[in-house]
């Protein structure tokens, strides 16, 4: 099943040193109060967004999502056959600054959030509806981020 590939991806991502550890622990608490999102946090998120072609900010991990919407999103990416080597997931529950910062960074009030090639795609509603319409399969294929499986057409609705 394809879903396994995404799960493996995050094990890899989890082994990678988190870009958030250092910047966030160094984040000065006295940054200008008008700016909610400090440069340090913004740079850490920039780095996370660029860490793989497909990046999901979620609650929990792909193996153990902590929210139904994050679970639905990871399931869709699994069904789409996203290549684990081209995927990274970040658990916002592990870092309060990431959890708050990503909402401002993307100008999007909820988690999960999907980025493809550093571009914000949307949250769970958009991921699921793009999956159902076939748009997501088309986009992921164009970006070359899905595992090619011989004789498989199941990631191509339409």
């Amino acid at each position: 099943m394809f879903s396994r590939t995404v799960f493996q991806a995050t094990r890899q991502a989890a082994r990678r040193p988190s870009p958030f550890l250092t910047p966030f622990s160094l984040a000065p608490s006295s940054v200008s109060q008008r700016r909610l999102l400090s440069d340090v946090v913004r740079q850490a998120i920039d780095k996370a967004v660029s860490s793989a072609p497909v990046v999901l900010f979620m609650k929990g991990t792909p193996e153990t999502p902590q929210c139904g919407f994050s679970r639905a999103s990871i399931q869709v990416l699994g069904l789409q056959g996203v290549n684990p080597e081209k995927f990274a997931a970040y658990n916002v529950l592990e870092d309060q600054e990431l959890r708050n910062g990503i909402k401002e960074y993307s100008d999007w009030p909820t988690i999960p959030q999907l980025y493809v090639d550093k571009e914000f795609v949307g949250g769970c509603d958009i991921i699921v509806s793009m999956h159902q319409s076939g748009e997501l399969a088309k986009m992921l294929e164009e970006k070359g981020v899905v595992v090619k499986e011989e004789g498989s057409n199941e990631s191509k609705p339409e």
């Binding site: 609650k59 919407f69 994050s70 679970r71 100008d107 909820t110 949250g123 769970c124 509603d125 958009i126």
Partner: protein
């Protein structure tokens, strides 16, 4: 006046007023706390906009409300799309889609999107 609680009615009223929504279905998916909602929003303001832009319009219109609740989900359609879906329903056995329930367990959310 004290800030009033967010309910299906306050959300519907806000969407009608701020997005000139012609049809709104709000469903409580909290299974108790009353602070998780899923919605179907029909507004002419969605015409010609991508799904992402439609959701951003809604997020902006309901910025304060969404910040207060625990989970939020939406399906955004133009009146034309909604009418087309309704017509489809009448000519087939497929039901018209209401508010999205993906990510819920039988309409109850587990966890939050906040």
């Amino acid at each position: 006046m004290a800030q009033s609680a967010i309910t299906e009615d306050t959300l519907r009223a806000a969407l009608v007023e701020r997005l000139q929504a012609t049809h709104v279905e709000i469903q409580d998916m909290s299974g108790g706390c009353g602070q998780a909602f899923t919605s179907l929003i029909i507004s002419p303001q969605f015409t010609g906009k991508t799904s992402l832009k439609r959701h951003r319009l809604v997020n902006t219109a309901l910025r304060d409300e969404i910040a207060q609740i625990h989970a939020w989900s939406a399906r955004c359609q133009t009146p034309e799309e909604y009418a087309r879906d309704k017509q489809k329903e009448e000519s087939s056995s497929e039901g018209v889609e209401g508010p999205p329930l993906d990510g819920t367990e039988g309409g109850r959310v587990e966890g939050t999107t906040a």
